[in-house]
């Protein structure tokens, strides 16, 4: 059966950073989804022109409420409109859920590593929230690369995630005062400890821009070589 376009009403908007927003929509008839999946969002102009982009779901299914996380890209056709212009109470259209591969299911019990670059944290946040609400006692790790401390999304939830969530922030441009790690892009050293805690079958989720995902994929494959961990355990999602 073809997936239908469903009307989705904006009911909440919250700033995550200066340019990123959490958006909550109600979507009557939403069939539910798995953590890590995404939706297509369709906008229609007065002259009938339509534009569609994909956005990851930031939280597990909660009846007909869906949360997205949108980074406004300057000069972008869709993201600045969603982030700042779509009036509360108004509607767009959505279709989904999409993507059956980049998912974490609450029945999974192996320790997990997830690696986010910037807005790539969105689908990983859905997994982290599902992991928490399932009361899972397996370790969920997030290595989260941001430019500076002011670019962290979901900070409170990530810093206060309990004993089964382990979050490491990597600052590429500006580190907080007294940080042990110098500012800079992700390296093998940043991944050595988190990967050492994985099982051979543990899934690894990597999400962000193409450049970030390619870099991290290469680092992980190298770290796994000689440890008997297959590159096929690495699942990637590219945002552009």
């Amino acid at each position: 059966m073809a997936l239908a376009w469903l009307p989705a009403r904006l009911v909440g908007r919250r700033a995550q950073t200066a340019t990123a927003r959490s958006l909550v929509f109600t979507v009557p008839g939403w069939p539910g989804h798995l953590p890590g999946q995404h939706v297509d969002v369709r906008l229609t102009a007065d002259d009938g022109y339509q534009a569609v982009r994909s956005y990851s779901l930031a939280a597990p299914a909660d009846d007909d409420r869906l949360e997205l996380g949108v980074q406004a890209v300057s000069g972008g056709e869709v993201s600045p409109y969603l982030a700042d212009q779509l009036p509360p109470g108004e509607r767009v259209e959505m279709r989904g859920p999409l993507g059956n591969w980049f998912v974490w299911r609450p029945e999974q019990t192996e320790p997990v590593l997830s690696v986010a670059g910037g807005s790539g944290v969105v689908p990983l946040m859905a997994m982290i929230r599902a992991h928490r609400s399932a009361g899972s006692r397996s370790l969920f790790q997030l290595v989260y690369s941001v430019r500076g401390p002011e670019d962290v999304w979901y900070r409170e939830e990530l810093e206060d995630g309990g004993p089964f969530l382990d979050v490491r922030f990597l600052h590429t441009r500006r580190s907080p005062h007294g940080a042990a790690r110098a500012s800079g892009r992700i390296t093998a050293a940043d991944l050595r400890e988190p990967t050492a805690r994985l099982d051979p079958v543990s899934p690894v989720y990597v999400c962000g821009s193409t450049g970030f995902v390619e870099t991290v994929g290469d680092l992980l494959v190298e770290l796994f070589a000689g440890r008997g961990k297959e590159p096929a355990t690495i699942r990637t999602e590219h945002f552009g």
């Binding site: 009307p7 297509d40 229609t44 534009a51 779509l86 108004e90 994929g217 990637t236 590219h238």
Partner: protein, 199 residues
């Protein structure tokens, strides 16, 4: 006045006729893949066609490069909704690899280094519509875009153009590949917007 997305205008949409439904044009070359990028040196690359009876034909990199080469300029369409116009490729037409091969199989599974697979009808690989491509825009195809060589089937969504291709297996029935098993459409015609199963 539509009841959706009030105040949305969009970019000037002059290229609309050249775009399949639901696509937008991009100047960059985004990447879709499910896992890390395999690194395959050209010297270690080989390409094998296997018939439904198990007979094989193989080519090393050198042998493939010695086959007749073709330049192609084409639009490509990714299921993640970007389209890129006038991409320039060099490679070998699949008609060359299949020349004289006896088969009654109707379908093909493409196998890639790294384990990726995709499935499509044999007819879509023949008749000058598909290539093994090794050069993009005048340069050796980079690993993240499928180098050293990828399948190029531009009339279908780009996930059918398997990156890091290492072989084609002929099968009597359609045997769904990676994305086809994960809910994507078995055929994937961008002009009929066949993104997901049931579209």
């Amino acid at each position: 006045m539509t009841s959706f997305s009030p105040g949305f205008r969009g970019r000037p949409h002059s290229l609309a006729q050249r775009l399949p439904p639901g696509q937008y044009p991009t100047e960059s070359f985004p990447v879709l893949s499910a896992g890390p990028t395999p690194r395959v040196p050209a010297e270690a690359w080989s390409f094998t066609v296997t018939t439904e009876r198990g007979e094989t034909r193989s080519w090393t990199w050198e042998q493939m490069m010695a086959l007749p080469q073709q330049d192609t300029v084409t639009d490509i369409h990714c299921v993640t909704r970007w389209s890129k116009f006038d991409t320039r490729w060099r490679g070998v037409s699949l008609d060359v690899f299949f020349d004289g091969l006896e088969t009654t199989a109707g379908y093909v599974v493409a196998d890639s280094y790294g384990g990726y697979t995709t499935s499509l009808p044999l007819a879509d690989l023949l008749g000058g519509r598909a290539w093994i491509a090794h050069t993009y825009d005048g340069y050796a195809l980079s690993p993240e875009h499928g180098g050293p060589a990828r399948l190029l089937v531009p009339h279908l969504y780009f996930w059918k153009s398997a990156k890091w291709v290492r072989g084609l297996r002929l099968t009597p029935e359609d045997d769904p590949g990676f994305w086809e098993s994960a809910g994507y459409h078995p055929y994937g015609d961008p002009w009929r917007e066949q993104r997901h199963r049931g579209d």
